[in-house]
Amino acid sequence: MSRRARLWMFAPALAGMVALLIWGLTGLPDFGHYRGPYGKVLAKVAVPERKATNVVASTTFDYRGFDTLGEEMILFSAALGLVVLLRELRGEEEEDEEADDDEEGIEGREERTSDALRIFGLGLVGPTVVLGIYIVSHGALTPGGGFQGGLVLVTALLVVYLAGRYAAMRRVSPIPMLEVGEAGGATAFALIGLGGLVIAGIYMKNFIDPGTPKTLLSGGVIPLLNISVGLEVAGAFALAFTEFLDQTLLLRGSGGDES
């Protein structure tokens, strides 16, 4: 049907849906009067039981670890789908471009960035990596964890690209290493859960001794899960960025820039 007809049908439907939504939302408890017992029980019980002071991390990786496994698999499938989609595109593009009379290689296309930018970037990469590792490893103690720390690690990679050249970024993080990191993270997560099954009889049960709170090794299996999640998130997003950058830059290569 035509666009106009579609929009005319959409307006009352949207109004009805938002009205229904608002009516449903008025049935919720007032803002600030959270009723449900699960959260209150967890807040009371999480630190004595698991000795991890970050209750959100305990919930994500221990009490609701199974849900996080599902999310990990979504992340993995999304990265997989992205790689499959863009690989086919690139192969075809290289075929098309060979017919073109193009002489610029990858070297000629990129301008050299200024020295100030490169020094600044160089100075920034180290602390960013350290910050990422810090956030990942202290996930059980302070706000942070695998998801956030993995993204900060990807930012370090992007600084290499922004302050330098694309070839430098590719040399630091070749695609096979990213793929292995990402798949390894996802597998490690599932296998640690399996360890819970083997050792303690329940899948994803926390089977390592919790330790004392506020130390780096507290929380039992939570730091390990944090590391595996950090690996996977960093690998998935770095892979996504590399594939996207490939699309925009490597189009003209006949054979590409395999440094």
Binding site: G32, H33, N54, V56, P143, T155, F241, F244
Partner: protein, 83 residues
Amino acid sequence: MIEAVQIAALLVVAAGGTAVVLVRDPLRQAVVLSFYGLVLGVLFFAFQAPDVSLSQITVGSVGVPLMLLLTIAKVRKRERERE
């Protein structure tokens, strides 16, 4: 019950979301989306959720706008080739 900071953050988030939708050009939308990600992070922080705020700031201000920019670059490159 609801604090002034939360009210202010909520109103800015509503305005930001509307702005993201009303800006039609994808390139400008990437910048507005980056700002919206930051504002959303501040809102989550006002709701006493520092973990979520951390995730949102890194993803919403850096991750998604960067991928948007790369998609736009690729699409424009292909359109330029076509001419």
